[in-house]
Amino acid sequence: MADAGVAADRRIGTADARVETRTPWSERAWSALLWGVMTLFLVNVALMIAAVATNSFASRWLGTWLPQGWTARWYLDAWKEFQLANILWVTVEVVFAVVFLSLLIGVPAAYTLARRNFVGKRALMLLFLLPLMVPPITYGIPLATVLYQAHLGGTLAGVILANLIPAAPFVILVMTPFIEQIDPNLESAARVFGASTPRMFLHVLVPLLAPGILAASLLVLVRTIALFELTFLTAGPDSQTLVVALYYAVFAAGVRAPQSVDAMAMIYMLVTLVWLLIALRFVNPTQLVSRVKENPGGAL
């Protein structure tokens, strides 16, 4: 081992050192392969979305590169046929109710988990982590059973409650680092001046937490619009969100023109992407998936 170290030292500064810094062709081939795979993936996904968009504006499209003609009537048809006005309104109600309620119960819980240590804290954190790790279908079927027993199944309230289950823990997960970075001295100062907990929350914590609350609400909003399984299992005919209505449209696609189904898919995609773009202005994209714990640069 000492020989290898000495040999490396001897090579530095000589002409041979230049050879070590040139990337061997095998590494460049490997790099090219990886970039190729990534590009292939992205290009295919983009073309997939473009295919849906093209089809939604096509009058007829049978196996050629581009459709025979273009029209925008499928959008009007889809609007009337799928009663998109109603469905969009239901989606708006569900999503905003879920965001509001999840913030209401999630932010105080995140505060307690971030600031206090108590018996059973780890068990409680596991309890809040479970709905995010277990896929919705697994706990959705027993949940639907319970909701139907409580006569909440198929109603708007049932859909809101079902969507709240993954939303509240997500709020807790997102808010915890924001709360941790608020100086506890500020809270102590508020208490010294006689603030009770609700007053301290309202006048000190919530204004400081505003960016975190905004980030959490946008993330919950984007996730709830696209959440399919829970709404699918608990919705009735008049409490479907947009994604569930889209599923039924694709499912029964033989009956309808595929162009109108694609028009509806485009509307769904537009709604989702608009909110995603708004959310990306305020949050890191990876927060949709996990809490990014980036290494702070290291000892550079």
Binding site: G5, S31, L34, V37, F41, L42, V45, M48, V52, N55, G63, I105, P108, A109, Y111, R115, R116, L124, L127, L130, M133, V134, P135, P136, T138, I141, P142, L143, T145, V146, A162, A168, P169, I172, T197, A226, F228, F232, L233, V243, L246, Y247, V250, P258, V261, D262, A265, Y268, M269, T272, L273, T286, L288, V289, S290, R291, V292, N295, G298, A299
Partner: protein, 296 residues
């Protein structure tokens, strides 16, 4: 000095008053208990109370009916290859992009789009694009790569491709967050001792990544195992892609046998638990210490 009863009582009175901030966590806890734990327990009990037969009748029915117990195998047949592909491809690419750059942010933002759009839209897009008359088929014919007609929808391959499209970005983002959490100082230290990039990966990054990789595999597998809309829209739900979630859904909403549906959901959860426990036990073979460099 032994504690007299009076001294103990005085000590007890001096203990801090009940911290009312703890009450703030009660609504969330109550909600989780009522709507997550209780349905699970209720479903478990319900699965042991079938409309007819003994308390194990549901499970017996599941394992003796042909189109029920084979769903486990079919779902594993879809979920395991999809997870291995997702994690296997995401790892080298995420490792390559571990350096913070504009490219990394650009690609990360792009990859968030398939995750957000969801499986239903991906299914509809695939039916149009990967269909027998879609752009992919026309492209393959134009370039004479493959002359025959392609069958990538309404079969096993359609579901597998959709699992890769929706699972790969998720695995990539998760692994990227783990890789960027490893101090690059360690790799530089290895480089000063003469390790080339392959050795750096094998001896430094891979052991440190192993716990995160195991976690990512588990999460990706669990997501793939509970595939539902893709299997119905893009697969052949009566045959090779009859996954276990379809069986549970049919039992609940087409046969209205909530007891059997709960039993199937329990079995689904149990199979996932077995595989997750197996993968996490493999992780114990690897390094479990801190991932930061530096002194101390």
């Amino acid at each position: 000095m032994s504690a007299t009863p009076a001294a103990t009582a005085e000590l007890r009175a001096q203990r801090a008053p009940f911290d009312r901030a703890l009450l703030l966590v009660v609504p969330a806890t109550a909600f989780m208990l009522a709507l997550f734990i209780y349905p699970f327990v209720y479903g478990l009990i319900l699965s042991f109370e079938p409309p007819q037969g003994g308390w194990l009748a549901n499970y017996q029915k599941f394992f003796t009916t042909d189109n029920l117990w084979t769903t486990i195998g079919k779902t594993l047949n879809l979920a395991l290859p999809a997870t291995i592909i997702n994690v296997g491809i995401a790892l080298p690419i995420a490792y390559k992009m571990r350096v913070r750059s504009r490219w990394q942010r650009f690609v990360t933002t792009l990859l968030v789009v398939p995750i957000t759009l969801g499986t239903v839209l991906i299914a509809e897009g695939m039916l149009t694009y990967f269909g027998p008359k879609g752009w992919l088929a026309q492209f393959l014919q134009l370039t004479h790569i493959y002359e025959g007609s392609i069958r990538l929808t309404h079969n096993y391959w359609g579901v597998l491709i959709s699992l890769v499209i929706s699972g790969f970005p998720f695995a990539f983002l998760l692994i990227l967050s783990y890789v960027t959490g490893i101090d690059p100082v360690l790799a530089r230290a290895a480089a000063t001792l003469g390790a080339d990039s392959k050795a750096q990966f094998r001896h430094i990054y891979l052991p440190l990544l192993a716990p995160g990789l195991a976690m990512c595999f588990c999460l990706a597998f669990v997501q793939a195992f509970s595939v539902f809309p893709s299997a119905v829209l893009l697969g052949a739900p009566a045959g090779p892609t009859r996954v276990i979630s379809i069986a549970a859904y049919e039992a609940a909403f087409e046969q209205y046998d909530y007891s059997l549906a709960s039993a199937i959901a329990m079995i689904m959860g149990f199979v996932q638990l077995v595989i997750v426990a197996f993968v996490l036990s493999l992780r114990n073979w690897f390094y479990k210490g801190p991932v930061t460099g530096g002194k101390g």
